[in-house]
């Protein structure tokens, strides 16, 4: 059974309906809201599988269903759905991981008063995310993109009564919106140049050869190809959403949301949307590759940003003490990997890593959620410890996730996808710096994950919470087990020996290369992983922490560096001191201009009018604050002099009238004025 592309909209529509149901369900209707959400997502999952089947019939084809949204002048504005292997895989991943996280949330959020609202928001998020995936129009993608931002805002701020959560939600929305403005501008430019925002439209779409040729042949005054500029603007959106340097600051704060949210949004799916976006518009991003006379290729920037992010995230993660923040920075780092892969030209590797990462990072976050749930909402790893024996299932699955993330060789999915990226980076002709950054990040990743696991699960409980921890219920552990299994298995669809995923994504057969091609790099990275894990075990597992207040071994060696990393390289402070200041300065200036200058000018003009006799007193009073005190005083004095002649004596008026008449007549007759 296949899913025709015309019915593709059902995939996002089902969760959307569930969100509507959730919104209208009163607080008591927990089973209705949760049931609707989970059932809808399972339905979407089934449809996604059918869609994948449809897409794989001819992997090279882009199936589209376009429709008119509204009339625009003489034409119409069109939107559409798209089905190709890229988004079919994404759909399956999002719905599958999403379903498991929804189920996990049943247990995790059991006690929350706003349970129904939570599922409403989760469904809204899923709908928007699926909307991004199936859109065949950059505008539709942007719409869903912003709705994802909204859902993320609502979910991060789910415990909005906590000021930190409310602030984090706002920060996430604003930071991503900065990137989105770039995306918006890129979209406007693209639309203006190509006259369409449909990706594929039987040869007329903006990602098809005709449009791209026009875009890459035109250049700006700086010598940049137009396609490069548009690509970079669109990439801004991805930078914001995917937590890339320098807009990554919102992602760690987003951990204020409930843990399933962190798992779903800030690990598995939403942050991957940026990577998906770049992969989706990859023809546009790479349109300038053939040009040799341009100063900059769009993908070079992508690779650079990706490499910086991968390294930075890994470095900062080493010095974090909050279990979720470690994972958050590891997410930043892994997303950097994906961007790196896109930048060096292998979007397939990026998508492969995106898929595997979604599984094991969701696993890790849910595992962390299980730990937090068990330890009565204690998130500081210094306060935890010794949880291994108490939370057997959680520990086992968390370990699987950790090994996958660290890239433990052969068995785990993370290894294969990371190898694919490093392999692609090695093959990049422009520079080997991304490869070096990636390799350093490999060591660090292995190291900080080992540190995390050692601190959390080994040794002795260091607080009341960790000593009295108990295993989570089955509704939470079963999803963990499923995700763990997937984290292992999913890697095998894209090994160098059997690159099925790669060939399906590109739509052309990829020849498996032999074991020894690239084996040197593989050996190197295996060694690095081993070194990282070994170092982590040596430092943290051999002598486990005894008390919560004990200093971290690295902190003891290099306190200022550790503090600097712990404060996330002070980037937030930097932004507060620059962007924040500029913003508030602009606001002060605008307000001041408004209060004093504009009002002053208009009041001044108003006062000129008054002098001619228009509503004297009212406007005079209001002018006093205008900074034109002197002017108004003068005018007021003039008015007083004038008003002195208004004696109120009727005789005087009459006399003045008569004298005036005589004088006038005399002037006219004697003066000869006729």
């Amino acid at each position: 059974m296949n899913l025709p592309v015309q019915l593709l909209w059902l995939i996002p529509a089902l969760p959307l309906v569930a969100a509507g149901i959730g919104a209208l369900t009163p607080r008591g209707g927990r089973p209705i809201a949760a049931g609707a959400a989970i059932a809808a997502l399972i339905g979407s999952f089934i449809l996604s599988c059918l869609a994948l089947k449809t897409a794989l019939v001819d992997p090279a084809a882009h199936l589209t269903a376009n429709f008119s949204w509204f009339d625009l002048g003489t034409g119409t504005f069109r939107l559409g759905w798209l089905l190709d292997p890229l988004n079919a895989f994404m759909c399956v991943m999002v719905t599958f991981v999403g379903t498991l996280i929804f189920i996990f949330s049943l247990g995790y959020m059991k006690e929350d008063a706003n349970f129904t609202r939570f599922f409403c928001f989760l469904s809204l998020f899923a709908a928007a995310m699926l909307g991004i995936v199936v859109a065949n129009s950059l505008l539709l993608l942007f719409v869903s993109w912003e709705l994802v931002g909204l859902a993320s805002y609502l979910l991060i701020g789910f415990w909005f009564h906590k000021p930190e959560a409310a602030a984090a939600a706002k920060k996430a929305f604003i930071t991503t919106r900065i990137g989105d403005l770039g995306l918006l501008l890129g979209m406007l430019w693209l639309y203006d140049r190509t006259g369409t925002l449909l990706f594929f439209d039987n040869g007329a779409g903006c990602l098809e050869a005709g449009a791209l040729a026009g875009l890459s042949s035109a250049t700006l005054c700086s010598g940049l190809a137009v396609s490069t500029a548009i690509g970079l603007l669109i990439f801004c959106g991805a930078v914001g959403k995917s937590g890339q340097f320098p807009l990554h600051v919102w992602l760690p704060d987003a951990m204020e949301g409930p843990t399933p949210v962190s798992a779903l949004i800030h690990a598995a799916t939403m942050v991957a949307a940026g990577v998906f976006l770049v992969a989706r518009v990859y023809p546009l991003m790479s349109a300038d590759q053939a040009l040799t006379n341009v100063p900059l290729h769009a993908l070079t920037v992508v690779a650079a940003i990706g490499a910086i992010t991968a390294l930075m995230g890994a470095v900062i993660a080493v010095a974090q003490n909050d279990i979720k923040r470690v994972l958050a920075f590891s997410t930043v780092s892994q997303l950097g990997y994906m961007m790196l892969a896109l930048g060096v030209g292998s979007w397939v590797a990026a998508i492969f890593h995106l898929l595997t990462h979604a599984f094991f990072k969701a696993l890790l976050f849910l595992g962390a959620g299980s730990v937090i749930h068990a330890a009565h909402h204690e998130q500081d790893i210094r306060q935890l410890g010794g949880l291994g024996p108490k939370l057997k299932v959680t520990f086992a699955t968390f370990a699987v996730g950790m090994l996958a993330l660290a890239g433990f060789p052969f068995l785990f999915s993370g290894f294969w996808s990371k190898e694919a990226i490093l392999h692609a980076a090695e093959g990049w002709e422009v520079s080997h710096l991304p490869l070096i950054a990636g390799l350093i990040a490999v060591v660090l990743t292995a190291f900080y994950m080992t540190r995390l696991v050692s601190e959390t699960f080994f040794g002795h409980g260091r607080s009341h919470a960790s000593e009295h921890a108990h295993e989570s219920p089955a509704v939470m552990t079963v999803p963990l087990a499923i995700l763990a299994a997937c984290s292992v298995l999913i890697g095998f669809v894209g090994t160098p020996a059997w690159p099925w995923l790669q060939s399906q994504l590109t739509g052309e057969p990829v020849h498996p290369h032999g074991w020894f091609e690239g084996a040197g790099l593989m050996m190197l990275s295996i060694l690095l992983v081993a070194f990282g894990i070994g170092a982590g075990l040596a430092i943290y597992a051999r002598r486990t922490r005894v008390t919560a207040s004990q200093r971290d071994p690295i902190e003891a060696k290099a306190p200022s560096l550790f503090a600097f990393l712990g404060a996330r390289m002070k980037l937030d402070e930097l932004y507060a001191a620059t962007v924040g200041k500029v913003n508030s300065a602009l606001a002060v200036v605008s307000d001041g201009l408004d209060r004093y200058v504009w009002a002053g000018i208009v009041n001044f003009l108003g006062r000129l009018g008054e002098f001619a006799g228009v509503v004297y007193r009212e406007a005079d009073e209001e002018g006093l604050n205008g900074g034109f005190d002197t002017g108004s005083e003068t005018l007021r004095e003039a008015g007083k002099v004038y008003s002195r002649s208004q004696t109120g004596d009727a005789h005087a008026y009459l006399r003045a009238l008569a004298v005036g008449f005589v004088v006038l007549v005399l002037v006219i007759t004697l003066g000869g004025l006729r």
């Binding site: 919104a23 949204w69 509204f70 009339d71 625009l72 002048g73 003489t74 034409g75 505008l139 719409v143 869903s144 993109w145 912003e146 709705l147 909204l150 701020g157 909005f160 009564h161 906590k162 000021p163 959560a165 409310a166 602030a167 939600a169 706002k170 929305f173 604003i174 919106r177 403005l181 918006l184 501008l185 406007l188 430019w189 639309y191 203006d192 913003n583 508030s584 602009l586 606001a587 002060v588 200036v589 605008s590 307000d591 201009l593 408004d594 200058v597 504009w598 009002a599 000018i601 208009v602 009041n603 003009l605 108003g606 009018g609 228009v614 509503v615 009212e618 406007a619 009073e621 209001e622």
Partner: protein, 509 residues
């Protein structure tokens, strides 16, 4: 042509209501409220009837009523409906009853309030439908009187000053406009927008004005421009707006922002642009800067406000400046890019409608907060209101996100089309304008965070009721409309698209 004078019915039914209220001085408050609401609803009913009889594929005026009025002055009573008018009539029909409902609980002289409100509504409708300057200007000026009294008598502590400021500025502006039209009449002998438009299209209007004296075309253009710019308001002629909006009663603020501010934009599109295309083209570059100033300064100034009503007022300046940005970009560029032009104009029209919905909903929400806190509406007087009133918070969120331009709600598509058009015509203006989008998000989210999130404090600490039935009656339909027009903009675009297409194709180079 339909024999029944639909348009006169639209304009004068509210006035009949006002007359009835005036003639029944002994009417109880409840009855006068009900009566006012009934007559206020007539606009929506007649508007929908007119829309059902409206041939949307046609660009010209429909349901035209033309009668000789003052033959010695060559003045006609001339009403006509095109897509733009219909859009604004429907907007008036939606916002006015909502505005009346917003002041439903105000016990101060209910009968008089309804009376003034209906007068104001009828005058605004007259402005949107009149096709001859004489009746148009009458309606235009008549709208000031009830607005003045609504602000002065039912407003806050600073209302008297705000009301005088409002009236003095607007009358000051329209005096110049009247002067301009006097000159036009002296030169051409007609005041009909249609005939003047034809003259202008043939280039004869300017020629005739020049025959009076060389400086008249520019002087008249500036006069008319000033009258309209004060009304919109265009930065920097806006300084009357924040106090007026802030001091007016909630219903008055809703009407002022939802409908009256549209009168200015409507004037720009209906009068200034068709009559003075060359002058507007020549002046468009500096005007673009002014519109951008409104976009950016409005948003940033809103960020600094601690009074919620003032904040929404500044955001109105920001949103209306987008409309003018689109128009000025079109005027600056001429016909170079038809697709961008029609996009910008469609966007401006949509933005007018959408801003009317979302800004009046925001004012309603602020008014509801004010009612709960006993008159407080400072940014820092609240906290954690979402805990206390989740439904109310959700509906406010609708209004806020719509105003912020969230895709999927109505605000987005207008702004997108404006930016798309402006980008195609003058890219730098679109790039600068993005700053305004960013700042809007920033201050609206700050508002939301301070008032609704965090622990309960300030006015929310005590008893704080969730949305009442009355509030639901207003907010739920508004929210539903926001969602509807966000998802199906064709419902609105279909009304005016032929008009936009004609505009775009008939532009002077």
């Amino acid at each position: 042509m339909n024999a029944f004078p639909w348009l006169s019915a639209i304009v004068f039914t509210p006035w009949i209501g006002a007359l009835i209220l005036a003639l029944l001085p002994k009417l109880s408050p409840a009855a006068s409220r009900g009566l006012a609401l009934l007559f206020s609803f007539s606009t929506l009913a007649f508007g929908l009837l007119a829309a059902s009889g409206f041939n949307a594929s046609q660009a010209g005026y429909q349901l035209v009523e033309q009668h000789r009025w003052i033959s010695s002055l060559n003045v006609d009573y001339h009403l006509g409906l095109d897509g733009m008018s219909l859009l604004l009539v429907l907007l008036t029909g939606i916002v006015s009853p909502a505005g009346l409902l917003a002041s439903w609980r105000d016990e101060r002289d209910t009968r008089l309030f309804g009376l003034f409100f209906l007068l104001l509504q009828g005058a605004a409708l007259g402005v949107f439908l009149a096709l001859d300057f004489f009746p148009w200007f009458l309606f235009w000026e008549l709208s000031l009187v009830p607005a003045f009294f609504l602000i002065k008598l039912w407003g806050g502590p600073g209302a008297t000053r705000a009301a005088y400021q409002f009236v003095v500025y607007t009358i000051g502006g329209s005096a110049f406009m009247l002067m301009g039209f006097a000159a036009i009449y002296a030169a051409t002998g007609t005041l009909s927008f249609v005939q003047l438009g034809q003259l202008a299209a043939q280039g004869q209007l300017v020629a005739k004005l020049s025959s009076l004296s060389g400086f008249w075309p520019t002087a008249v253009f500036l006069g008319v421009f000033l009258g309209l710019a004060v009304k919109v308001p265009l930065f920097p002629f806006h300084s009357w707006l924040p106090p007026a909006y802030a001091e007016a009663p909630t219903g008055g603020s809703m009407f002022l922002t939802g409908v009256m501010s549209k009168m200015g934009v409507y004037g720009f599109l209906r009068i200034l642009w068709p009559l003075f295309p060359t002058q507007l083209h020549a002046a468009a570059q500096p005007l673009l800067w002014l519109a951008l100033g409104g976009v950016v300064f409005g948003a940033f100034a809103a960020m600094r406000q601690t009074d919620l009503k003032r904040m929404v007022a500044y955001s109105s300046i920001n949103h209306l400046s987008y409309c003018l940005l689109a128009l000025f970009a079109v005027a600056a560029a001429g016909t170079t890019n038809t697709a961008a032009t029609s996009s910008a104009l469609s966007g401006a029209l949509l933005q007018m409608f959408n801003h009317g919905l979302s800004a009046s909903a925001l004012f309603f929400c602020v008014g509801a907060l004010e009612a709960r806190s006993g008159g407080l509406r400072g940014l820092n007087d609240f906290g954690g209101a979402r805990t206390a009133a989740p439904v109310f918070a959700g509906l406010c969120g609708f209004a806020m996100f719509s105003s912020l331009g969230l895709p999927g709600l109505n605000g987005f598509i207008g702004e997108f089309l404006i930016f798309r058009g402006v980008w195609g015509l003058t890219p730098w203006a679109a790039a600068v304008g993005c700053l305004g989008l960013f700042a809007t998000a920033l201050f609206l989210l700050t508002f939301w965070q301070r008032v609704f999130h965090g622990p309960r404090k300030g006015a929310v600490a005590g008893e704080f009721a969730d949305a009442s039935k009355l509030e639901l009656t207003v907010l739920v339909p508004l929210a539903a409309l926001m969602l509807l027009f966000g998802l199906l903009p064709q419902l609105l675009v279909g009304l005016f698209n032929p008009l936009v297409a004609t505009w775009a194709s008939h532009l002077l180079p």
